[in-house]
Structure formats: C-alpha cells, structure tokens
C-alpha cells in the first residue's frame, strides 16, 4: 500500500515560523520579495493567469522582460484608465483577448506589485526536497494471518495422514476422518461465502482519477463532488460539469503532486482526458460542444434486491463517508474498502447509536424507546434497522 509522507505537527510549525522569519528579514530588500509575491499572485492572479501558459489571460512568467514595471503598475491598478489614456499596448492586449477586461486591483500597493513581479521573474521555485518517494518503511506492513491458518491446516492434514498410515486404532481413524470432514466443511463454507464479496475490488478506470490528490492533498469535501449523497439514495458520480468548475483553470498538476508511480505528465494527460469528455478546448478556452460521457467502472455494487440510501446515513445518521468507503483521501485509485455484505451492514446497525439530538422527527420516539429498552441511547437495530423489509423491497 502506498502512503503519503506525513509531516509532523512540529515540523510544520517550524517551517511556518522560519518562513515568517524569512519574510520579515527580507521584506525591505529593494529587489522584491519572491515568497510574498507568490502568495499575492496565488490570491489575486492565479485564477486567470499562469506563469508559463495562457489561461484566461496571458502567461506572466518573466513579465519584466516584456513590460516596464511602471506600465505594469498602472495596468494592474486600473487597466481601464490606462486604456482610456490611449496607451497603445493596453489597447492591443484588450483587443487580443476579445475585449474581456481584466479586473482592476486598486488595493495592491506598488510594493505588492514589485513583489509579484519578482515572483514572476524568479525561476520556478523548487520545493525543498525531492518529490515524495513512497516510503514503504513508514507504514507497517499489515501482518497477514493467512499463513498461520495454512500452517494449521497442513499440520492437521499431516496428523490425519499419519494416523491413517501408522495407527491401527479404528476409533482414532473414524474420529480423524470426522475431524477432517468438519475442517473441510468449514473451509469450504468460508470459501463459498466469499463468492460475490468484492472487498478490495479496484478496477481500472477510464481516467486515473486520484482521490489522494483531490480529497487528500487539496482537502476537497467529499460532498462537493458527490453532492447528491446528502439528498438522495445514490451519492452520485459527479457530472463532468462539476469537474470543470475547477479544471477550467487547473489544466495541469503541480510538480510536487507527481509521485514515483505517476509522473506530472501522466496526471496532465489524465486532465486532458477530462477535457475531451467535457468538450473543452484548452487552447481556445472554449467548449466545443463535442462531449463524450465518461464510462466509469462502478466499484460499489449492491445487488438489486438490497436498498441502500446515502441520505439516511450521511444526512440523518451523520456517518462519515470513510466509515464505509475507507481512507479515500489516501487512495490513489479507489477500491472497495468494505465487504458490503449483509452481515457487515447488520453489525454496524447493531452497534451504532441513532443520532437523534436536534432532530424534530425523533422528539418523542427517542424518549419512549430508550425507556422501553432501558438504555440511554437506542441503536439502529432497536429502531427497526434489523428488519428484512427495511432494506429488501
């Protein structure tokens, strides 16, 4: 299993403190502060500009080689006024971008603009340390107990064989046979029970969508994309237009997103697949209208005769997605974390206390039921969550 390198709390604090120290120390340098410039750029400019690529506006890397600083200051603070003053360059840009004006930033001081320009002029900042290498030694291997059961089986079979070969005791032979049959039945039954249980099912998807990057690194809320989970029985695979809310602007991943397994080029290629599906031309930045629905392979398959409702669990029950879907934020490629068997459902229903606080529906029911069962909090099963008809209809 892969893992993302985790920084310790202390380390993070140290780095932050050092950064601040650094900031304050070099703030007054005439050259402009690259770090401050970066954060200003990200806050104000990154929605429309990239360093090396045209987005909504032009690429801005090494801008000072193309524009005077004074001109930039005037343009950034109020490009409309600059155009009105008849500046030829300003009008040319305006026309190049089909008359879509840039937002004015009167709130940026001259120093801020100097900082931004310094950031733009600096070489792309490499993050301290090499790209994260999956450090296998950080995560302990899950100890497998399987080999023990094989060993036990082997020993049992060995003993039985030995009894048959060496012993003359008929009683012992019969007992051994019965013992062997019981064991075979046990293992056979276990094997049969596992049919149709797809725990760990991890199909290859048409787009190598990484939950690690989205839910883990970028901490996007599950329900931003799976928005119907709170309302509906199905959590919903997000439609392509939801992806494009962000990916209209994010056409490539950061260097540091790449892993040993997947390079930056690989991820960028996957984003291109999304553009193809959405019919987005990343050159002209326009929708072509030629869409192509993405055919995801469904991972969590409940049989038709089992009814499951996300809203009941997510909204009413307040259950975290990870309870059933596992550490999705760590999964590079999604797999089925839970067995999704009936026993697994029922076990949880037996243990889970119903979250009734603040829900007008349960107002009297809760009191009455807890009195009836003589408990503080009733479980889902006590509410009827073990009845066949609640999930099978």
């Amino acid at each position: 299993m892969k893992s993302v390198k985790k920084h310790s709390q202390v380390l993070r604090l140290a780095i932050t403190s050092l950064t601040f120290l650094f900031l304050f120390t070099f703030k007054l340098s005439a050259q402009g502060d690259v770090k401050a410039g970066k954060s200003l750029f990200n806050a104000n400019c990154a929605a429309c500009h990239k360093l090396d690529k045209k987005l909504v506006g032009p690429a801005l890397g090494k801008i000072s080689e193309r524009r005077e600083l004074e001109w930039l200051k005037a343009w950034i603070k109020d490009n409309n006024a600059l155009r009105a003053s008849g500046d030829a360059d300003a009008i040319a840009i305006y026309e190049e971008y089909k008359g879509s004006p840039m937002t004015a930033f009167p709130q940026l001081s001259d120093a801020d603009i100097v900082n931004i320009v310094s950031y733009l002029d600096a070489d792309p900042v490499k993050k301290a340390g090499a790209p994260v290498i999956a450090a296998a030694n950080e995560v302990e291997e899950e100890t497998s107990t399987e080999w023990i059961s094989y060993l036990v089986l082997l020993i049992i079979v060995g003993i039985v064989v030995w009894i048959f070969m060496k012993s003359d005791n008929t009683f012992l032979k019969i007992v051994a046979t019965i013992f062997l049959l019981f064991n075979l039945a046990y293992f056979g039954f276990t094997a049969l029970l596992s049919i149709g249980v797809d725990e760990g099912y991890q199909p290859v998807q048409p787009i190598a969508f990484s939950h690690r990057i989205h839910a883990g690194d970028n901490k996007i809320d599950c329900q931003y994309c799976h928005s119907s989970a709170k309302n509906s029985k199905s959590s919903g695979i997000p439609s392509v237009n939801v992806c494009m809310n962000c990916h209209k602007n994010i056409s490539e991943v950061a260097e540091e997103t790449a892993t040993a397994e997947h390079s930056k080029a690989f991820y960028d290629g996957e984003i291109q697949k999304l553009y193809k599906a959405a019919g987005w031309n990343s050159e002209t930045l326009e929708y072509t209208g030629e869409t192509e629905p993405i055919k995801w392979t469904r991972i969590h398959n409940l049989p038709d005769f089992a009814y499951y409702n996300h809203a009941q669990h997510v909204t009413v029950g307040g259950i975290k997605c990870q309870k059933c879907h596992g550490p999705v934020e760590e999964m590079e490629e999604l797999y089925q974390y839970s067995p999704l068997t009936m026993g697994w459902c029922i076990d949880c229903h037996k243990e889970t206390k119903v979250k009734m606080e603040g829900n007008g529906y349960y107002k009297n029911i809760h009191e009455d039921l807890s009195k009836k069962y003589g408990v503080d909090k009733v479980t889902v099963a006590q509410m009827g969550g073990k009845e066949c008809g609640k999930c099978h209809y």
């Binding site: 309302n231 509906s232 997000p238 995801w296 996300h310 809203a311 009941q312 009845e387 099978h392 209809y393």
Partner: protein, 1019 residues
C-alpha cells in the same frame, strides 16, 4: 338473511364444481400427473435419465463457474447535469391528460427524467381512473409511430412540411375545403390556433368526433342553454339521484362524478343520497346503486317519460312498462328531495335529454350545474356524417385527422375509407400507425401528452395546462406546431400557448404559477335557459323509439374505454369490475335468455370458466364469434358488449384480443336492435371470479341499511357488525379477547393501518393499476390469468348478494343435510335476476399474527414493527407454504420470469416499456412469492424526508405516498399511522363500521374494512 356469492354457479346447490372449490384449499393441485402420468410422452422423450443427469451436472458446474466472476458494471454520469435532477430523487410535475376520452389534472412522478407514475393532482381537484393511471405506460409503447411516413414509407419532417404547405396553397387557390377532423380537444389555445389557421387558409372546417358520442346531450343543452356543452352535476348534497341508462360512475359524459357522489353518501353524517339506477347492462353505477331497476333500453325511454309524468303530474305520450310501480316510487322520492334531486339519462336522443333537462328544471335541481358546464365531449354526429357524405361526393380537398381513429371507431368505416381515397390530401396525426394512419397519405407521429405542451378547459372557468415531462422519445411533432408552421408562423406552440394564456386567460396572474399548479380557475358565467317544449319532445321520442326482441347496448369498458390504449398491458390485464374477466370483451346476457338460447358458462376445476360463441347481427352487420358471458342483473331481452377491443393495427399480438364492436354502433348510437345465433366453439375466459377460493368462508362482507345504522338503539357490535363469539373458560367472549400469541407493544413509532370503506369503493380499478405502476407488478397474459396465476397485489373482489326468502333460507340451512330438493328455480333465477353488488378491494392484510410468517421455512416473510408483513424476495426459496396458509389468498407466486422473457412479451420485455419501472422496487425473479408491501418504499421515503428536515411526519403524508390510497378518487382507501392521533386513520379505526376480515381466525389484521351502508329508504 343475505347470501353472498361470486358466481351464478354457486347458487346451484347441485354443482359439484362449487362443492369441490369450496372444499379444496388450493385451486390447482400440483400437476404431477401431467408430467409423470403420461406414459406415452415419457417414452417418446429422447432425453434419457442419463442425459438428464448430464444436463444437471453440466448446468451446476456452469453456474458455479459463472458465479466466480462478477459482471463489470459501468456508471455513466451526465456531462452536464440538469439542475433540477438529482439522481435517486423523484420530481413531480403538474400536467393534464386530454386524449379526447379521458381528461384529468394529474401529477407526474419522474425519476432521472423518466415519467414513472401518475397521481391525481389533488390541489386541482383532479381524480384519476384506471386508464389515466395506465397512460404512463402508453408513453413507452414500442409500437408508437417513430417518425413521419408518406404512403407507408419513411420521410422527413422538412419534406412533409414543404409538401403539405404546397398542397395547402394549391387547395386554397382552388377554393377547396379543408377539414380538420379531431376528437374532443376542449383546448382554448388550439381552438384559437385553428381559427388562425382558418384565417390563413380560407375554406377550413373543424369537425369534432367522439367515438362514444354524447352528441344528443350536447344538442339538447345547446338548444336550451345556447352553448354546446354538457351540464355538470354535483352530487355532494344530493338526496335522490335517478339515473336512467346513465353510467355516471363509469364513463358517462366523461365520468369523474364519483368524488362528489361518495361525498354525498357519508353515512356518519346521518344522511346519504338515495341512488336509483334504471338500466339494462350491469354497470358500475348499477352496482353501486341503492336500488336497481332492470329494464331494456327501449323501456328506459318510457321509464323516463313516465317518471316525468309522475313527478310533474303531466301526461306526456308514453307507454306503460313492467317497472312502472318502481318508477312511481322513484318519482315520489324525487319529489320529496325537491331541489336536491336530479335525473340523469344516457339515452342518446336529443328529446330524451330535453325531457331530463326539463325534469331537472321542474325540480329546480341544485345538483345539476348549468353554469360550470363540461367541455369534455364535443363530438357532433351530424357534422361527422355530413363530412363522410361530402368526402364521398368529392367535395372535400383535404382531411387532417388528429386525436381520433375514425377508421377503427366508425360503424361506416368503409364509407370513410372510400371517401378518404377521393380526398386530394389526407393527413393523419396519430401516436401509432393505427387504422386511420395506415389509410391516410401522411401518417404523422404526435407526441404523447407527457411529451407535449397544451391546455384544456374541462369545465367552464377551469383551465388546465399540459407540460412535457420527458424529452420526446421519437421523431414526433405536435399537431399544433405543424399548424403553426403551415400557417407560415415561425412561432412554436409553446410560445403561442404562453402568449394566449397571458393575453386571454390569466388576467395578469403568473404563468409560472399556473404551470406549477397545473390549473387556473376563474368564474364561470350563468347560462340562461329557454323553455322546453316537452310535449313535442315526448311524442317524437316515443315515435323514434323502436323495440326489439333483443336490444344491444354497447358500452365502454372500465379498463379499455374507447380503445385508444388497447395496446396497454396493464389495462388489458385489469379485470372488469363486474364480470372480473380480463383480456376480452364478450356479450353479456341474462340467465333467462341464456337458458332459452342455449348458452352456458361451465366452470372448470380450477375456477376458470368457459363460454359459447355467438354471431351478433345488427341491421345486416354481423360481428362473428363473440363469446357469451351470463351476467346476473342483465335485463331480459338485452345484451351488452364493450367497444374498444378487436384492434389489430399497431398492437402486439398478445393484445389483439376481443372483437371490434364499433361496426354495430350504427349512426353512432350505442343502443341497437340485435339478434344473435349460437355458433360452434368454446371460448376460454380469463376470468378470476371463482379463483382464489375462500374455502367456504363467506362472512367477509358486512353491510347494513342507513336506517339501521342511524338507529342508535341498535348496538352495531351485537347486530350488523357483530364480533364472533367464542367460548373461553365456559364463557361467551368476543373472539378478539382471545389470543394465542404474545402481543407486542406497537405503541411507539409508526404503526400503519389501511382502512377500506366498502361504501365508498365504486370499483373503478384505479388503485389496481396504480399498484402495478408503483410496485413493478408484472403482467402475465391471458392464459396465465385464466389458470389463476395473475400477479395483482391488489384485486377488487366483486360479490353479488341477494335477499333470501323463507324457502331458500331453509334450503340454505339444510344445505349440508342430505335432503335432495331439486327446486333450483328460486336459488338460481330470482337472485340472479337483479342481485346487489359489493366491491371489496383485497390485498395483503398485514396480519399482526400472520399465518404466513410462521410457516416459512427460511424466514423470508417476517414482521416489521410498523405493522407490515414484510416479504424478502432474495430469501424466498419458493415453497409456497405461505400462500397456502394465507386465509385471504393475497400472495402471488412468480411461476415464470416475467421480465426479459419473450414468452411474456409485455412491458417488461420491451426496451421502452422497461423505462416505466420504479427504480426503488426490485423486479422479482422466477420462483419467489410476492405481495402487497404497504408501499414500504414510499413510507420509508416519507419518513426519511421528515428526518432530513428534522420534523414530524405531517398527517396525510403517508396517505398520499401509498399508491392505492393516493390514487383513490373517493377516499375509500385511507392509509395512515394509528399512533399519530391527528391522522385520519385513527378515527377510522374507532368507527362503529370498522371490522377486520375473518376476525374469528385471530390474525389481527392491519387492514380495516368499513361496513357497507345502503340507503334502502322507500317512500
């Protein structure tokens, strides 16, 4: 004392079949003899025992190998998700059905953009019948016309538009007449559009045509009140209703009266209207009537005049009838009711309608409403016949048909087809390539109403909107859009409609609000009446009335109606409420006539019935091989036959059942003098009336009279609603006091009960179809229904009853003794002549102490604390013990796989038809038991919605969620939570009329019945 019976056969004491069926616990035995007893077949079979074992071995191995690899399933999300759609949640849209025969304000439930269920729009006072409920499946009819056709070849809309525009220009230049022949539209915007089209094209005439005509009433009303409409009736305050040949609880004048009818018959108010029905066929209205007077159609005419004479004291020319004494009694009751009395008649004669109007005017009846008149029938018989004559004379340049199928429904269809050939341009707008569309030059596909825009004015001042709930499935175009295009307008019908509403209807109120509500109401203006010359009307009516030895009344059946939805398997499988036969039409005949003419309905061992064939002749037109069914209550000397069957065009072969009776409706008159002759052959009916044996337990219906009910000195618990007594420790106690079971505490949380009011159930069958749609109940086809394998979760049992006189009472008591009285006459003939009818909807009773649960070896059926008897299909192994142990015969076994099986080529074996399936309910596989679930998917959704919103469930919410109770127009079915004191069901449970079915067996049902009350008051 009353005796309840399901079939005439049961009145025959010597019938071995009945005795057998009574004693038998199961209708059909396991057919071991069939496959083991037949030595020849066994020997002929090429499959040896060894082969058999090989097959078994191979299939087991193959199955286990196949099970190792799960299928890979794809999930394809939207590219751009429509804002209003959340996968997994339904959307509801208010719209209106107006197919020319059925008109109703409805709510459409859509899932992921597919309409899957129709509900009545109760905010707009909408009610639905079985056909409206089933109309959602007609949307997914795979035999719909999928693109425009020219002379049978596919063409394109652009070609069609260009060609027709050119033809219209030629016709205009030549001054030739263009006729638009439509069904009843009642659409203000379409009428305006037609006016615009007429203005653009000059010589245009709009002719409306109803297959089942109400032209006589329209003519009469127009003469008296000056407007071509139908009078409306509000029975909620009526005291006496006399209906002569008017099946107003069926489809008479468009139907929809059952709601106000039952509102006026609530026994707990102490008052009920008295309903007297004068008729020949046994109709729904007759079945619900307090008193049914059985007369032939020709005598109905004189009954009407005699009634008029008796009420007014005039002496219009008439003739005595055998039932005059009853008519005089009815007249007395009408007079007593005064303004709260009303007379309705279905006699298709303008003069008869005039007399009825005059009689209502004489009574100054407040029941009849001449202001908010109905527009749901507009057909003009004279204009239709004139059109056919003109077409044949070559006077017509072009005919456009829309919303009508005259080639199928006209008696003089051949003349119409001939005329059509002489017309330069013939265009049929049709939903399928039906009889008319295949005869016209152009067959242009129209969208289903769920895919279309439109409006309809069902009654004065009530405007309804039709809005699309799904993108058109096929390459269809609306009639109105075409008219706009051909008038040279670039406007779409949607814009036209919206503009028309904003300018002419809404009066400044919001279009969006009207669209949301589905209806907009304004005040209707009064219509001034002219005086009616009753004397002239009566004498010409008398002169026009012909009597025959046998008179035939054609009618539209509850399920199929006028036949436009005949390719709808839900409707074909819906049993007729009276005869309980499905997949057929048949000639109904009285027992006396049947005996005289040699017809019989022998009952088979398994409860199925057979019949003989007859040829019917009307005026030289013969309809051959019509099966004959003996109908108790059919007037002697009369026949009944349903129209709407026998369609062959654009019909799946399974649905091509019955005979076409329209050729007998000559001059668009449903009453004809007919003769029949018996022909050879045996017809096999798919009739459920004797199936589901109740093992000789007949005490399942309770009823009493209004008089007894109102008599407070009578304790219902010791009289008409008696609880069975048992002896406990040598004391007589109520059976309910004894319980073998430990009772559970069900006072916390929801506990569902369903109350069924036998007084309010008119037997319309809307709930049966709603149940089909909501619960993915499969259609099994004619043969399977015949052998008792129908899958209806909810059925409506029909019981006949007759008062037994002293003689037959004695016989009844001695029934099991060895006496061999063979005097059948009373038992067989008299009660069957005019029995009383009661309807009893029956579904799983959700017994708290369910006999089915205890016998299931795998615990596949179990009990929920909400009161449901739950059925877990995936657990069921199909032993059928449960069904055998069920006292109510409500469990259904999947004998076959009914989905994706070409042997059952109905909607579940059809790529379009499958789209109607409810995604919240599983489609059952072969070999499992199924039954009513109390719509647990819907009640759970209601509970979840309340939990999500953090509130309690509102009273009535459950009632509106459950398919049958929400579909019920009269409120006969009430579903609710008995632990919620504000719920309507609590009062129902405590009602003195409430009883449980077969209470004595101690199953403690969660379904309640309310005893039927009849108003037996005579004056």
């Amino acid at each position: 004392m009353k005796k309840y019976w399901k079939s005439v056969e049961e009145l025959n004491e010597n019938s071995s079949i009945v005795a057998k069926l009574e004693e038998k616990e199961f209708v059909s035995e396991i057919a071991t003899d069939e496959f083991l007893g037949d030595k020849e077949t066994l020997e002929e079979s090429s499959t040896s025992r060894r082969d058999f074992l090989k097959y078994v071995g191979f299939s087991t191995a193959a199955a286990s190998l196949a099970a190792c690899e799960g299928p890979v399933r794809k999930s394809i999300p939207y590219v751009v998700k429509p804002e209003e759609i959340t996968p997994g949640l339904p959307n509801f849209y208010a719209t209106t059905i107006a197919d020319g025969y059925d008109f109703a304000n409805v709510l459409v439930k859509t899932r992921e953009g597919r309409p899957i269920l129709i509900k009545p729009n109760k905010l707009a006072n909408g009610t639905t019948n079985a056909r409206v409920q089933a109309s959602v499946l007609s949307l997914y009819d795979s035999l719909r016309l999928k693109g425009p056709k020219l002379k049978g070849n596919d063409t394109t809309w652009s070609d069609v538009n260009a060609q027709i525009k050119a033809s219209l220009a030629d016709l205009k230049a030549g001054g030739e007449k263009v006729v638009l022949l439509t069904g009843t539209l009642a659409s203000p915007s379409t009428e305006k559009l037609i006016a615009d089209f007429t203005a653009a094209n000059g010589n245009v005439q709009h002719v409306q045509y109803d297959a089942v005509s109400e032209s006589a009433t329209l003519d009469a009303f127009q003469e008296v009140y000056g407007t071509r409409a139908l009078p409306n009736y509000d029975f909620s305050d009526a005291e006496t209703i006399v209906a002569i040949g008017a099946d107003f609880l069926g489809d008479w004048q468009g139907g929809g009266f059952e709601k106000s009818y039952t509102a006026g018959r609530q026994a707990d108010t102490g008052k009920m209207s008295r309903h007297i029905q004068v008729e020949a066929n046994m109709t729904l209205s007759g079945a619900n009537a307090d008193k049914r007077i059985v007369v032939k159609p020709s005598e109905q005419v004189f009954a009407l005049i005699n009634l008029y004479n008796a009420v007014t004291g005039e002496s219009l020319p008439s003739k005595a009838t055998a039932k005059d004494a009853d008519i005089i009694k009815a007249a007395k009751q009408l007079k007593k009711a005064g303004t709260k009395g009303a007379v309705l008649t279905g006699i298709q004669d303008k003069n008869a309608q005039l007399i009825a109007l005059a009689l209502n005017a004489y009574l100054n009846s407040s029941v009849i409403d001449t202001a908010t008149v109905k527009y749901t029938r507009q057909g003009n018989d004279a204009e239709v016949q004139q059109l056919i004559a003109d077409m044949n004379a070559g006077k017509i340049g072009a005919v456009f048909t829309f919303n009508t199928n005259p080639v199928y429904t006209l008696a003089n269809s051949a003349e119409f087809v001939n005329g059509l050939k002489k017309v330069k341009l013939s265009v049929a707008f049709a939903s399928s390539e039906d009889e008319t569309a295949s005869k016209a030059q152009y067959a242009l596909p129209t969208p289903h109403y769920l895919e279309a825009w439109g409006d309809v004015q069902m009654q004065a001042g009530s405007y309804s909107l039709t809005q699309p709930t799904v993108n058109p499935l096929f390459d269809t175009k609306q009639f109105q859009d075409c008219l706009l295009a051909w008038s040279g307008s670039s406007e779409s019908y949607y814009d036209f409609l919206k503009n028309n509403w904003n300018s002419a209807i809404l009066g400044g109120t919001s279009w969006n609000q009207a669209l949301h509500d589905g209806v907009f109401t304004s005040k209707a203006s009064e219509n001034k009446a002219k005086t009616i010359d009753v004397a002239t009307a009566a004498s010409s009516l008398k002169a026009a009335t012909k009597e025959g030895a046998f008179e035939l009344t054609l009618f539209s059946a509850t399920a199929i109606g006028d036949g436009q939805q005949a390719n709808n398997p839900w409707l074909q499988e819906l049993p007729d409420p009276i005869t309980r036969a499905s997949w057929d039409n048949y000639l109904t005949i009285s027992q006396a006539d049947a005996t005289a003419l040699g017809f019989s309905n022998p009952v088979q061992d398994n409860g199925a019935i057979n019949g003989d064939y007859a040829n019917i002749t009307v005026n030289g037109v013969v309809v051959e091989n019509v099966p004959v069914l003996i109908q108790p209550g059919q007037a002697k000397g009369s026949f009944g036959l349903a129209v709407g069957y026998g369609k062959t065009k654009a019909m799946k072969s399974e649905m091509q059942v019955g005979v076409n009776a329209y050729p007998l409706a000559q001059d668009l008159k449903v009453v004809q003098i007919a003769s029949i002759e018996k022909v050879s052959g045996t017809h096999k009916f798919a009739c459920e009336q004797l199936q589901h044996t109740i093992a000789g337990r007949y005490e399942i219906l309770k009823e009493t009279s209004l008089e007894t009910y109102n008599d407070k000195s009578i304790d219902p618990k010791h009289s008409w609603n008696e609880v069975t007594k048992v002896s406990l420790k040598h004391e007589e106690v109520d059976v309910t006091a004894v319980d073998l079971w430990d009772d559970q505490d069900r006072s916390i949380g929801h506990h569902f009960n369903l109350s069924i009011d036998l007084s309010d159930c008119t037997g319309c069958g809307a709930c049966v179809v709603a149940c089909h749609a909501e619960n993915n109940v499969p259609v099994v086809g004619k043969h399977e229904v015949r052998v008792g394998r129908d899958m209806h979760w909810l059925r409506i049992d029909r019981y006949y009853s007759s008062e037994l006189d002293a003689d037959s009472l004695e016989r009844e008591i001695n029934k099991n003794s060895t006496s061999d009285k063979v005097d059948d006459y009373y038992a067989l003939e008299v009660p069957a002549e005019n029995p009383q009818v009661a309807f009893q909807p029956l579904m799983c009773q959700h017994c708290n102490h369910a006999p089915c649960e205890t016998v299931c070896p795998v615990a596949a059926t179990s009990h929920g604390r909400q009161g449901q008897n739950q059925m877990t299909y995936n657990r069921c192994v199909g032993t059928r013990y449960c069904a055998n142990n069920c006292p109510y015969r409500v469990r259904r076994f999947n004998w076959f796989k009914y989905n994706e099986n070409s042997e059952f080529d109905f909607n579940m074996n059809d790529e379009y038809g499958k789209m109607v399936l409810n995604p919240d309910v599983v489609v059952r596989s072969r070999g499992v038991m199924e039954k009513c679930s109390f719509c647990i998917q819907s009640t759970q959704q209601v509970i979840l919605n309340a939990k999500k919103e953090g509130r309690k469930v509102a009273p009535g919410e459950f009632n509106n969620a459950v398919a049958c109770s929400s579909a019920c127009a009269t409120g006969a079915l009430v579903f609710g939570d008995v632990n919620e004191s504000e719920d309507e069901i609590v009062a129902k449970k405590e009602d003195s009329r409430a009883y449980r079915l077969l209470e004595a067996i101690g199953t403690d049902n969660n379904v309640l019945y309310q005893a039927k009350i009849r108003n037996t008051e005579e004056v």
